[in-house]
Point group: C5
C-alpha cells in the first residue's frame, strides 16, 4: 500500500508551527500560504452592507463611518505578512495571539486581554473519501467588531450570512456577542451530521462484520477509531472553551447571549456523550472482527477435519489390500494360506466396499451429532 | 443480513433536529409528526376533573375557573405548528425551550427561567423484540400548572392517573411539585424492570455460552452491550438533572417534595450501580465467548490429530508392503533374496496386522494419558 | 446446564420492590414473607434484660419502665403488615423509610430526619456452595433506642450479644451510638473472612490454571468475578455511608464513638483495596486461562505436525515403489530398461529402508533443535 | 504444582487480625508471636546512649534521667501481652491503637490523638527467591520520644543508627520529628532498589519473550504483576499518609522537618509514577507473550502446510500409477489398450519423476514468494 | 538477542541516586561524572557579555560588576564536588536542593525557598537509532541571576543564545524571569518534533502492519509504547510544574511573563492530548498486529485445507484401484467375477480419470463460492 493512498495517516499533524527556538510572537509564514481574501459585513436593525474589500484602510473607513453597526470582518488566507502585521496594529492584536492564529494547530481556547476576547475554535468536516478535515478559526470579539481569521478558503458560514440578509430572528437586532454565538453554534451544528455519518458507517460495518468480514473491515474500523480520537480531542477542548466563556465575567458578552451559549454547551455535551458511545461501539466491533477471524478458522478446520477423518481411515483400508503378501511362494511355489486370503474370497471386494460405506455412515452420524456438518 | 432486519442499529440517532444553520429557537416540524392530543387533569383535595380538550382556549378557561386546583396538561404529538406557538404564548415558554421540546433528542436537563422550571426527561422502554425505545418527555412546572409534552402517543402515566383518581396517598393533597416528583419517580421505576429483563437475558446468555455458544450468542452480547451504552448515557444525565433539582433554590419545589426526590435520586444511583455491574458482566461474557471459540477449535484439532496420528503411520506401513520390489528378476530370472522376503513368509500378513494393532494400542494409551480422548 | 444449577445467576436481583406506579411510602408485602420475631435487649452498666417479646406493647412498656437503659429492639421477618404500621407509629418512622426497609434491595445509606438516624447496611455472607448471600439490615438510632430490622432469620449479632452479656469492654457503659458502631463493625468484620475465602479460591485457581486448566476453571473465574462485582458495589456504598456518618453533625453520635467509627472506616478502605487487587488478579487469571487454551492447541498441533512431517514423505516414497511401471511390455514382450530398474536391484529394498531411516533421523534432529520434541 | 511451592500465592493475606465479633481494642496475640526485644537509643548534640534494655522500667528511668535527649525506643516482637499492656499505660497509647499495632495488616495511616502522633507504615522488601515481604512498622511520636514497634526481628534501620553514631548531618542536632522523618525516608529509599530489581526482571523477561517464550515466562509475568499490585496498593496509602503529615497542623512536627518530608513525598510520587509505568509495561509483555504463542502456532502450521502441500499431490500421482488397471483381460486375454498405457511406455517412469520434480519446484517458488520458507 | 542490543530496555532507570540510608542532602558523585564546564552570559538592553569562565570567583566578580544586567550561569557536568559545594554557598542553594540537582532522576517540580525559585525540568530528545534520551535541567531563578545545571554536555539552548545575541524580540529588554520562560519554552518546543517523529513512525508502522506484518513490527510497537509511557510520565509532571508556576505568588516572576508562560502551558496541554491519542493509536496497532497474525494463520490453513480436501479423496480413489483383489483364485484357478471387474473394463482407467476430474471441479466450485480461493 503506497503511502499516498493510506487514508489512515495521522492528518493535520504537520501543521504550520513556529520552529523550535524561534522568538515567541514571531510571524513565520509558509511559502504556500493562501493569498488573503478580505470581506466585511456590517449590519444593524435597519442597515446591511456586505462587500469584499481590498485593504484594511477600507475596513477601517467603514468602521469609523458606521460606529453604531456591528462589523464582521472575515480574513481567509495568511499569505501576506505585511497585512497580518497591519491587522495586529489596527485591531490591537498581540503578536503572541497572531502567532497562535497562523500556527493552525492550536487547541481551542479562550483568552481575554488587550481589550478583546480571543477565541480559537476548530472546524471539523467529514471528507467524502473518508477521513476528516480539521481547520482552525480564530475569532476576536470587541464591543462592535468581530474579526474571524482562517487559512483555508472554505466557507462554513454561508447559512449565518443568509440569516443576516434575511433579517429574520434576533441576529440583526443583537450585538457582536450574539454574532459570535451564532458562529460558534453553527460550527457545533456541523458536528451532528458528522456523527450521523460515523454512526451510519458503524451500522454498515457491523452488518459487514456479521455478514462477511474482510481485511478491509479492519481498516475501516481503524479509520473510524482514529476519527473518533481526533473528534474527542477537539470536542473536549471546545467544551472547556465554551465553559470558560459561560463562566468568564466580561463586558463583551451579555447575559442574554450567555443563555444561548448555554444551549450550545448542552449540544457539545450531547456530542461528547455520543462520541464516547461510538468509541465503545467501535471497540466492540474490533472484538467482533477478531472473533469472526477465529470463527472462520474454526470453519476451515472443521472442513479439513471432516474430510481427513473420513478419508484417512479409508485410505488405510485400501492400502491394506494393496499389500503384496503372496499366497504362493514365487520360488518354492509353496502355498501360504494365511497371507491375505481375503483377496481371493469371492465377495472380498464387495465386503470391503460395504465395510467402508458403513464406516463413513457412522462417521457422518457422529459429525452430525457434534454439529460439525451444520453451517454455523 | 438486510439493513432493515438488523436489531443492532444505532436507534434514535436520526432524531428530529434543527438543521445546521437554522436560527436558534426556530420550530421546524417533521412532515410525519403526530397530530396533537390534549388533555387536562385538574385536582385538589376534594375535586377531580379529568377530560380531553380540543383547544388551548378550553384549558385556559379551566385554569382560570379553578385557580386553587393543580392542573396537569398533557400534550402528545407535535404535528401542529400553530398550536405549539400558542402554547409558547399561553404558558410563557421561550422559543429556545420549545425548540428543545420538539427536537426529541435532548439530553435530560433542568433549567429555570421565564417563571417556570423546565425539565427534559428520557423515558426508556424495552421492546419485546429486543432493542429499546427512548422517548423524550418535556415538563414545565409553575406554581399550579404542570405541562408535559411528548411526541409519541405512548402512555407511561396511567398508574399516576389511577392514584389521582383513587385519591389515596398524598398526591391529591399536595401541589404541582409533588405531581412532578410522582411523574419523574414513575419514569425511574420503569428502569428496574428493564434492568431485570437485561439481567435475565445475561443469565440465559451465560448458560448458552457455557453450553452451546453460537454466532447468534455474539450478536446477543452485542445487542445488550449497545442497550447498556444507551442506558448508561441516559441514566448519567438523569442523575445530573435530579441532582440539580435537589440543589436548586427554587420556589417551585418545596422542601417536603425534595425529601421525596432524594429517594428518587437514591433509586437512580442504584440503577447506575447495576448498569455498571451489567457492563462488566457483559464484557466477561465476551471473554467467555472468545474462549469457547478457541476451545471448540481445540476439540476439532484434537479429533483431527488423533485420527491422523493413528492412521498416517499405519498407512505408511501398508504402503511399504505395497511396494513392488521383486525377489525374481523378471528378465534374467535371478533370485533377489533381500527384496521383501516378508511378503513370502507364511505369517507375514498376520505379523503386520499384529504390529499395527499393538501400535494403535500404544498410541491410544498415550492419547488417553494426555487427556485427548476425554470429552472436555 | 439446567437453569436451576447454574451458580452464576445474578442473585438477589429480583428482590422485593415496590411495583412501578405504586404510591411512594406504600407497604407491599410479599406473600411468602417471614413471620416477624421480636426481641429486646435492655442494658446499662449494672442491668441487663434480654428476652423475646410478643408485641410492641411489651416493648413500649419496657422502654418506659427503664428510661435510663439502652434498648436494642430486633425485628426479623416482615410478614405482618399491621405490626409494621404499628412500628411506624411507635418509633416515629416515616412511611418512605419503612418502604425502604421492606424493599430489601436498597443501597447502603444514611439519613437523618424525624428525630432519628436511619441507616441501611448490607450484610454479605459467602455460601458454602459458592455464591454470596446479600441481606439488608435497617437500623434506626435515637438517643436511647436502637431498632434493627431484617427480613431473614439469620443471626449475625450473637458475638455482640455475648459481649453485652459478658459485660466486658465499654459496651455496657456506653450509649446507643456505641451499640450502633458495634453492630456496623461486626458486619464489616465479616467481610475479611469472605475475602480470605476468595483469596484462597484465587490461589487454588491459579495452581489449577498453570497445572491443568479446564472449562470448569473458566466457570470458577466467572463466579469469582461476579462475586467481586457485587462485593465492590456493596463496599463502595458502605464506605460512602460510614463517611457520611463521620461527617454528619448529629446529636445521636458522640465524638468518642466517631473515633471508633473512624477505625471501621479504615477497615472498609482496606477491604476496598483488597477487592480492587483481587479484581486485577482475576482479570490476569482470565488471561492465563486464554493463553493456556492457546498453548494446548500449540501442543496438539505440534504432535500433528511432527507425525505428519515424518510420515507423509515416507508414504510418498513407498508409494513410488508401489507404482506398476513395467520393465516388460506385456503385449509385445519388449524390455523397457528405464522403467523402475530399482525394483530388480538386489539391494533395492534395503537401500529404500536405509534412505527412509536416514530421512527420519534428520527430521528428528531438526525437530529437536526447534524444540518441538520438548514437553512444554 | 504443590501448594507450598507456588510463589504466586497471595502472601500476607492471612495476617494476624482480631477475630470477627471481638471487642474493639482487644489484644489477641498469636501463639507463635516473637518474644519482644527492646532497645533504646538516646541522643543529643553531645550525648549518645545506645543499649538493649530488659524492661519498660529501665526505659522509663532513662527518659526521666535525660529529659533533654531524644529517645528512640524500638520494640520487635509482640509475644508478651503483659508488656504490650504496660506500653499502653506507659506511653498513653489507646487500646484501639495497640490493636492496630498487633494486627499487622493495617493500611498506612496517620492519626493524632491522646497526646501523640500515631503512624502506620509498611516496609516492603524483595525476596531473593521472588515474591515480596511486607512488614508493618508502627510509630508513636511525642515531643521527645519516638516508639517504633514491629513484629519481625528484621532490621531496616541500621543505616539510621550509623548516622546517629557518626554524629554527622543534622540528625543529632534535631528533634524527634527529624528522627521520624529519617525513619520514614529510609523506608521509602528501600522502594527504589526493589523497583530497579523489578525493572531488571522486566528487561530480562522482554528479551526472553522476544527470544524464546515459554510457559515459565507467563508465570514470571504473573509474579511481577502481583508484586506491582501489592506495591501500588501500599504506595498509594503511603502517599496519602505523608500528604496528611504535610497538611496536618501539629506541634509534633516542625516546619523545618516538613520541608524534608516534602522531599520524601516527591520520592513517593516518583515511585508511584514508576510503578504505573511498570504496570503498563507488564501488561504489554502479556500481549507479547500471547502474540508469541500465536506466532509459534503459525510457524508450526507453516511447516505442516508446506510438507503436506508438497507431498500430498505427489502421493496422489504415485498412487495413480499404483492402480492395477490391466491392459490384458486375465480371463479372455483381450487387449485393453486404454488401460494405463503409460505403464508400458519406455520413458513413463522417467516422465513421472520429471513431472513430480517440476511440480515441487513450482510449489517451492510459490511458497518462497509467499514468504513461507523464511524463518520468521 | 544479547542484552546490549535490545533497544527496549528501560533506559535511565539506573540514574544516579543517593544510596538508601545516606543522610539527606549528602552529595555523592559518580566516579565517571563529567568535569564541569562553566559559562556566563550577561545581558541588558544595550550590553552583552558572553564567555566561558574558569571559576566561581570570575562569575561572582562579573555579577558584582554589572548589577543591572541579567546573568545566566550555565554549569554542565557535576564531576567536582568542591565546586558544587561552592555553588551552594555562593548562590544560597540548600544541600537538599543540590542533592536533587545531582541525582538526575527527579520528577519535574517547582519549589520556592531560600530566596529563589528552584525548578527541575526534563529535557527529552529522540535518538536516531530509536529510544529516547531524558536529561535533567535544574534551574535556580533569583531576581537578576539564572543558574542552570545539567550533567551532560548536550546543548539545547543555542537558539536562545542566538536570540540574545541578535537582540531582537523582547529577550534583551526583559528580566531573568523572561529568560527562564524562554528556556522552558524552548524545551517544550522540542517535544513537538519528537511527537512528529513518533507520529511518522506510527504511520509507517500502520502501513507495514496492513501490508506485511513481521515479528519486528511487534518490537517497533513495543518501543513506541515504552517511549510514550516515558513521555507521558514526563509531560504530566511538567504540566503540574508549569501550573504551579502560573499559580504561585512570587516576586521572581512578573505578570507579563506569566502571560507568556500561559502560552507554554497551552502547548504542554496540546502535547498531552497528542500523547494520549498516540497511546490509543498504539494500542489499536497492537490489535491490528494480533489480528494479522490470526489472519495469516487463516490463510495458511486455507491453503492446507484446499490441498488436503482436493487430494485426500483422490488418493483414496486411486488407492481403491491399487488393491490386489483377484478375479482368478491363484491356487484353484476359479474365476471370481465380483472382485474388481472395473480393472478389466476397457474404459475403466478413462472413467476413473473423468470421475476424479469432475470431483476436483466440483470441489473447486465449492471453494470458490466459499471464498477460499480469493487472496484475502
Amino acid at each position: 500500500m503506497g503511502k499516498g493512498r493510506n487514508p489512515l495517516h495521522i492528518r493535520n499533524r504537520k501543521n504550520r508551527r513556529t520552529p523550535p527556538g524561534a522568538a515567541p510572537g514571531s510571524i513565520n509564514l509558509a511559502d504556500d500560504a493562501n493569498k488573503p481574501r478580505l470581506s466585511i459585513t456590517s449590519f444593524g436593525p435597519d442597515d446591511l452592507f456586505e462587500l469584499p474589500v481590498q485593504s484594511l484602510v477600507d475596513i477601517n473607513h467603514r468602521i469609523k463611518q458606521y460606529p453604531s453597526l456591528v462589523h464582521w470582518i472575515e480574513i481567509r488566507g495568511f499569505g501576506d505578512k505585511k497585512l497580518l502585521e497591519e491587522i495586529c496594529t489596527e485591531f490591537d492584536i498581540h503578536r503572541l495571539e497572531m502567532e497562535d492564529v497562523i500556527n493552525t494547530y492550536q487547541r481551542p481556547k479562550l483568552e481575554e486581554h488587550f481589550g478583546h476576547l480571543f477565541l480559537i475554535t476548530r472546524m471539523l468536516c467529514h471528507l467524502k473519501d473518508g477521513g476528516m478535515r480539521n481547520d482552525q478559526l480564530s475569532l476576536f470579539l470587541s464591543s462592535k467588531v468581530v474579526v474571524t481569521m482562517q487559512e483555508q478558503y472554505d466557507d462554513f458560514f454561508e447559512p449565518v450570512r443568509s440569516r443576516i440578509r434575511a433579517g429574520k430572528g434576533s441576529l440583526r437586532n443583537s450585538g457582536a456577542d450574539y454574532l459570535t454565538y451564532t458562529l460558534l453554534d453553527s460550527i457545533v451544528d456541523i458536528y451532528f451530521p458528522i456523527l450521523e455519518a460515523i454512526g451510519d458507517e458503524l451500522d454498515l460495518l457491523e452488518d459487514e462484520l456479521f455478514d462477511k468480514p474482510t481485511r478491509a473491515s479492519l481498516q475501516k474500523i481503524q479509520i473510524i477509531k482514529r476519527e473518533l480520537i481526533v473528534f474527542r480531542r477537539t470536542i473536549f477542548a471546545e467544551r472547556d472553551k465554551i465553559n470558560d466563556l459561560l463562566r468568564t465575567h466580561t463586558v463583551y458578552i451579555s447575559d442574554q447571549t450567555k443563555l444561548y451559549l448555554r444551549d450550545t454547551y448542552d449540544h457539545i455535551i450531547q456530542v461528547m456523550d455520543l462520541v464516547e458511545s461510538y468509541k465503545e461501539i467501535t471497540a466492540s466491533l474490533m472484538d467482533i472482527y477478531l472473533s469472526s477471524v477465529s470463527n472462520r478458522m474454526n470453519q476451515i478446520m472443521k472442513v479439513l477435519a471432516v474430510i481427513s477423518t473420513i478419508f484417512i481411515p479409508l485410505t488405510f483400508i485400501v492400502g491394506v489390500y494393496g499389500m503384496n503378501f503372496s499366497t504362493v511362494d514365487p520360488i518354492t511355489g509353496k502355498i501360504l494360506p494365511l497371507n491375505m486370503p481375503e483377496l481371493y474370497s469371492p465377495y472380498g471386494y464387495t465386503f470391503v466396499w460395504i465395510f467402508m460405506l458403513v464406516l463413513v455412515a457412522i462417521q457422518l452420524i457422529i459429525f452430525w451429532r457434534k454439529g460439525w456438518l451444520e453451517k454455523t
